[in-house]
Structures are given as structure tokens and as C-alpha cells.
């Protein structure tokens, strides 16, 4: 399997033995700092919980490839979602007191890999696909009642991907990537000629559409996928361009709840290095800096949110996951590395597993 070869090549065989047993250990909640979906050396999938120094606290088994993780202190639970078009989400106790519980999407729906809790931790929201109708929905799960699915509302678009809760605690912002897929066709993209990506703001209480923002018509093949919120409550987003590979299209921008949407003018070199693909977006702890990553282009870019300009670029082979750390970020890679970025003083670390696209700072 390539997983094994790539792993041995990138990590060195010596790391294999250091992998902790899968069984969750008793956790010190205060110690848990990072979480990410991973692929292990044997090619299996899991989610790793790590401490401050990158020490592995626990590994949670997953039935297939995971994607993003969300966590609620109030609920005392984390959830790792299946990568699209997966049908599972695993709820885990970061304290390790209870065995993980696997949720399965209802018939006719699959997950997109992202979700959020309500501020009080009583409800879990997940972006899902109503694939027969080719419509995005938000599935609502009752955390207080064994994560029963209690309803859904539309995302007003196809292929909803990342979803965040706005600082008001009530408004959900969702990136409708615009790409239609169907489980019968694997990951094939079925509507590249007629894509209609958008960012929507939705009232999570009643599912009401507060606003929907689109980029200009000529950019209908620019799939809006990942987001982060800055100190001014602007929603920064990163896109993946599905048009001609030779095209050079801006990929990073921000939207505001009062209806503005704007693409940043990244310099041609930086844009070229992003390879028409942004894999994740994160905000620094103070919300003053935004980071975007491109695993295709091995590039990380830090952006001054107020000045709206890039302030730093760094390379990380297959780098994608981003989480706030210190005044900067920690980035993770598909080759099992963690590095500090933009003011985060951290030595580069190599792990015996491959990080998936997203890194959560607990």
C-alpha cells in the first residue's frame, strides 16, 4: 500500500514502534491542545488527540477517512466527521471517560466533513448532502439525547462544506462549494459547467436565510470551501478553482454579514504557488492574522486581516491543517509534520501518521 511506503519514506521506520496503543488513555482535559483526523502507518484511519508538545494523548479509530473535528467544552464532547461522501461521525469524550459513539447519517444524506456545536453544547449542526435532490442541508443533532437527529434546514446551495458559528452565537455561516456529487458516482463532480457557489448566513434557531453572497458571475467555477472569522467578524474564505488549470484566479477573500464580499489581490507568485487550491483557512488567536494553506502547492500564507495583505509565505510539503498557536499558527501536513508559522515558536516535529486536511486547536 502506498500509505505504508509513503509513510516509511517520510517518517522513517523508527517511528512505527512509538505509536501509542489505540485504546484511549485517561486524559487530562487541560492537556489536550490539538486534534486532527489522520491516516496511520498501517493505512487505517483515525483521529489523534495531542498535547501541547505534540505528545499523542489518544488515537480514536475511524471506520474510514475522517475530515474536520469540532469540540464543545459545554457538551464535553468532540465530533470527528467523515470525509465526504462519508456517512459516519464519531462522537468522543476528550477526557476518555466514555467509549466513542458512531453516528450514521440518515438515509438519503451524507456528511461533508464539517460541523459545529451550539454555544451551550446542546445541539450539533453538520453540513450534509440531500444527494437525490442535489441540495445542501444542515442536519441538527440533539447532544442531550444521544445525538438523535431532530431536524434539518436547507443551506440554499449545493455541496455545503465548512460551517462556522458567528460570534453572535446564533448565526451560522456556511460555504456552499457549489459542486454536486452523488454516492453512486464516488467523488466525481457532476455539475462543473453549472456550479453556483455561495456563502450563506443562516439563523440557526429557525433556519431562516439571513443573506447569501456570491462572487461575480465569471467566477462560478470558484468553489468556496473553507472559512475563518477575524477580529472584525469578517468571514475569510479560501476557494478551489474548478475551471481551466492554466487560469490564474484569486482564491482568498472575505465576506461580511452586512453583505460585502471581496477577493484579495494576492501577488501572482503567491497565487501561482497556491495551485488554484486552498485547503484550509484559520484565524490567529487574536483574530488579527488569517492563514491559508495549499497542500497542492506546498504553501502556507499568513495575511494581515486589517491591512488585507499577505505578510508571510512559508512552504510545507503537503501542508494543509492550520490552527492558532501563540501569536501565529501551527500547520500540519499530509506527510506527518507539524511546524510553527508566523510568530509561533515551535520546532518542526515529525509524527508516525499522516495528518488530514484540518487541525483543531482545542
Amino acid at each position: 500500500m502506498w500509505q505504508r511506503r509513503a509513510f516509511l519514506k517520510s517518517a522513517g521506520a523508527g517511528f512505527v514502534a512509538s505509536l501509542l496503543p489505540r485504546q484511549t488513555m485517561a486524559l487530562e482535559g487541560s492537556e489536550l491542545v490539538f486534534a486532527s483526523a489522520v491516516q496511520t502507518a498501517s493505512g487505517s484511519y483515525g483521529a489523534v488527540l495531542m498535547g501541547e508538545r505534540g505528545n499523542v494523548i489518544a488515537m480514536i479509530d475511524l471506520p474510514d477517512r475522517g475530515h474536520d473535528i469540532t469540540l464543545s467544552r459545554q457538551a464535553g464532547r468532540g465530533v470527528v466527521f467523515a470525509r465526504q461522501p462519508g456517512t459516519f461521525a464519531v462522537v468522543f469524550d476528550p477526557q476518555g471517560r466514555e467509549a466513542p459513539k458512531t453516528l450514521t447519517s440518515i438515509e438519503g444524506r451524507h456528511f461533508f466533513g464539517h460541523g459545529v456545536f451550539s454555544p451551550d453544547g446542546t445541539l450539533l449542526y453538520a453540513t450534509e448532502s440531500d444527494f437525490e435532490a442535489a441540495k445542501g442541508v444542515v442536519g441538527i443533532y440533539d447532544a442531550g439525547n444521544d445525538y438523535q437527529r431532530i431536524g434539518e434546514f436547507p443551506t440554499y446551495g449545493i455541496g455545503p462544506h465548512e460551517m462556522l458559528l458567528m460570534p453572535d452565537g446564533r448565526t451560522l455561516v456556511i460555504a456552499n462549494g457549489g459542486i454536486e456529487t452523488h454516492p453512486d458516482y464516488g467523488r466525481a463532480e457532476l455539475n462543473l459547467d453549472t456550479m453556483d457557489p455561495s456563502i450563506v448566513f443562516i439563523d440557526r434557531v429557525d433556519g431562516r436565510l439571513i443573506g447569501q453572497l456570491r462572487l461575480e458571475a465569471g467566477l462560478h467555477q470558484l468553489s468556496i470551501r473553507h472559512m475563518a472569522i477575524d477580529q472584525a467578524s469578517r468571514v475569510w474564505f479560501g476557494c478551489q478553482y474548478k475551471g481551466a488549470p492554466g487560469d490564474s484566479v484569486q482564491l482568498v477573500g472575505f465576506a461580511t454579514q452586512d453583505g460585502a464580499i471581496k477577493l484579495l489581490e494576492l501577488p501572482p507568485d503567491t497565487l501561482g504557488d497556491l495551485q488554484n487550491y486552498v485547503g484550509s483557512v484559520a484565524a490567529s488567536a487574536d483574530g488579527a492574522t488569517i492563514a491559508v494553506s495549499s497542500p497542492q502547492g506546498d504553501l502556507l500564507v499568513a495575511i494581515d486581516a486589517a491591512a488585507q495583505r499577505p505578510v508571510l509565505v512559508a512552504t510545507l510539503r503537503n501542508g494543509c491543517g492550520l490552527a492558532p498557536y501563540g501569536t501565529g499558527f501551527v500547520a500540519s501536513s499530509g506527510e506527518g509534520e507539524l511546524i510553527g508559522l508566523a510568530g509561533a515558536q515551535r520546532a518542526q516535529q515529525q509524527f508516525p501518521f499522516l495528518f488530514d486536511n484540518h487541525l483543531l486547536r482545542v
Binding site: A134, F355, N357
Partner: protein
């Protein structure tokens, strides 16, 4: 003694040490000059021959001319089947791939649009410029298949210069024009071929030999995946579900199996001509998996609705799925690893 010496020489020639002498640059050059350029030209030749076949059919409707047009459609389709996985350069631009063949079409949008257009005798569909302004789903091979083989195609036997035929002829013109654009783009000395063969940090698309090689190997790995996910799985019986032969591409013209064979054969040929399987054991494994795929296909006869209902043929289709899974792993993972390509977890196919 002499024989064993000859054998040793032969073995030496087959050894990895020899194979490694094929440089990535040579792999790229050979992929472009020995596979991509000749195959896109072959497609353009067939597409250009289709247009007069349609013109003759319109002027002299009858069983012979219809048969000739249908044969030209089949030849053009198979020629496209050999290049449709080349989703870089011109086929990835201007919706050319979708205009040539709109597939998959899970909800039958293309069919509905074609039927509507035929019912309305939409005059905008029988001029090339008019057709090119319409939905991509009514511009290409899928639409032409319905014209030539679908309900109402019997009108082509006796209606001179009828709307249906002229629409088909316009599609053929469109196919020929797009095919010519593809040939020109691949021939352009400053175009995608040059970037792919001689990558440069200044190019937006291919900045290094590794990126170029990743792109070419990725075409095959993703091509295999697309064959399985968009051509096979939607119509075969799996997970206890019943088969759905109407979801098979080109079931009307009985070209389903021919297209699958063309797809897979072309990908095997590109790997061979590009010399990319430098590890002989891996090359053998890849060839064996392709052989299993072709053996499975040989056991499937037209029409598709009969094939899926026959347990032996249905089993062969399932064997084909397994072979494509093996191929995807061998090429996308093992072969990539032997070439030192980034098979990175995060960048493999994005999300």
C-alpha cells in the same frame, strides 16, 4: 552456456537498473509525443470523418447511410474514449470535455434537453454558432447518440434534410471543431505540451518535472477512478441493489463496453509508452490487473440490459470493478511512490 549467457543479458536488460535509465524528462516527452499528440490527432480524424457521414445521411437518408453514420459515430466515440482521461490542457478548458461528452448525467438532464430541442425543432440548434451557445449537454456525443439511435431515429431512414439529421450534422461539426482545437493546443510549441515536457518555475501550471509527472500519473489514477465511479458502478448491480442498465453510457448504440475498453486500453498504453512503471515487479502487477480488466470486459456482450441480467456477465462486471480498484491502488499509490511523487495524504484528491 551460451543460452544462459543470453538469458543473463536479457535479465540484465529487464532489471530495474536498466529501467531507471528512463528519466522523468524522457517519460514526459514520450507521453506527449508518443501518446497524447497522436491520439488527439486520431480523434480529430474520426470526428472530421463523422461530419461528411452525417451530411450524406441528411442528403440521402436510408439504411446504408444511417449505418455508415452510426459506424462513424462509434469510431469517433471510441477515439474519444482513448483521450477523454486527458483532463489537462485543452480538455480541461472551456468546458470542452463536457461539450464533447456530457457524462455522468444522473438526472437525465441532457436527454430531456435533447428531446425538447427535437420536439421544438429549435432552429438555434442547427447552426454551429447557435448550438455552441446552448447547454453543453446538447452539443456532443451523448446527444448525437440519441439522434442516431434513440426514439424517433427511424426518421433518419426516409426524411431528406430533416431537422433531426441536420441537428446531428451540426453536432458533428461541433465535435470536429473542438477536436481541432485540442490538436492545436497540444501542438502549440508554447502551450501545455511544452510546459508539461519542460516545466519551469515561471510557469503557472507545471513548475517542476515532479509536478508534470504527478499530473500525468494522476491522469491515469483519476481516469481509472472515473471509469469505475461514473461508468461502471452507476449501472451494475452492487450492494444488493438491482442493476440499472439505462444508467449505462451509450446503451442505445451498444457502445458501453467498447468505451470502457477504449478508456482502459488508452491508460495502459500511456503508462507503457511513457515508460513510467520502472519497477519490473510493479509493472507486472499493473499489466496483470489490466489483463484481468480486459478479460472481464471480454465476457460482457451487448446489449447492456442483457449483460446485467446474466449472472455470468454480471459477475464479470463485478470483476472489472475489482480490477479497477487494484489498478487505482497500483498506479495512484504504488507507482507514484516508486517515482518519488507526492502521494501526500492531504493533496491526493483534495477536499
Amino acid at each position: 552456456m551460451r543460452l544462459s549467457l543470453a538469458l543473463m543479458v536479457l535479465l540484465a536488460c529487464l532489471s530495474p537498473a536498466w529501467a531507471q535509465t528512463i528519466t522523468p524528462t524522457e517519460m514526459l516527452r514520450s507521453s506527449v509525443t508518443n501518446f497524447i499528440r497522436p491520439q488527439v490527432k486520431a480523434f480529430a480524424r474520426e470526428a472530421r470523418a463523422l461530419e461528411p457521414a452525417m451530411a450524406t445521411l441528411c442528403a440521402s437518408p436510408g439504411a446504408d447511410t444511417l449505418g455508415a453514420a452510426q459506424a462513424a459515430f462509434a469510431a469517433t466515440s471510441v477515439a474519444y474514449g482513448r483521450i477523454e482521461f486527458l483532463r489537462i490542457g485543452p480538455l480541461a478548458e472551456n468546458n470542452r470535455a463536457e461539450r464533447l461528452l456530457f457524462w455522468p448525467d444522473r438526472r437525465g438532464i441532457g436527454l430531456r434537453q435533447v428531446q425538447q430541442l427535437l420536439g421544438d425543432e429549435d432552429a438555434g440548434a442547427i447552426t454551429l454558432a447557435g448550438l455552441q451557445g446552448k447547454s453543453v449537454a446538447v452539443q456532443g456525443l451523448g446527444a448525437l447518440e440519441f439522434v442516431l439511435f434513440g426514439t424517433g431515429s427511424e426518421a433518419l431512414l426516409d426524411t431528406t434534410d430533416g431537422f433531426r439529421c441536420r441537428y446531428g450534422q451540426t453536432i458533428a461539426q461541433n465535435l470536429a471543431q473542438i477536436a481541432d482545437e485540442i490538436v492545436l493546443a497540444w501542438a502549440d510549441p508554447a502551450g501545455v505540451a511544452e510546459h508539461l515536457m519542460r516545466p519551469d518555475p515561471a510557469y503557472p501550471d507545471y513548475r517542476s518535472t515532479t509536478e508534470s509527472l504527478e499530473a500525468v500519473v494522476g491522469l491515469v489514477a483519476h481516469g481509472i477512478e472515473a471509469v469505475r465511479d461514473t461508468r461502471l458502478n452507476p449501472f451494475i448491480a452492487r450492494n444488493g441493489d438491482t442493476a440499472n442498465p439505462r444508467q449505462a453510457m451509450f446503451w442505445r448504440s451498444h457502445q458501453t463496453v467498447a468505451m470502457l475498453e477504449a478508456n482502459l486500453k488508452a491508460m495502459q498504453t500511456l503508462l507503457a509508452l511513457g515508460g513510467m512503471a520502472t519497477d519490473p515487479d510493479l509493472a507486472d502487477e499493473i499489466d496483470a490487473a489490466f489483463s484481468r480488466a480486459f478479460a472481464a470486459l471480454a465476457g460482457v456482450s451487448a446489449p447492456v440490459e442483457v449483460a446485467v441480467a446474466d449472472p455470468v456477465q454480471a459477475a464479470a462486471l463485478n470483476d472489472l470493478v475489482v480490477a479497477t480498484q487494484d489498478l487505482q491502488r497500483l498506479i495512484g499509490e504504488e507507482l507514484s511512490a516508486t517515482l518519488g511523487l507526492s502521494v501526500g495524504f492531504s493533496s491526493l484528491d483534495g477536499d
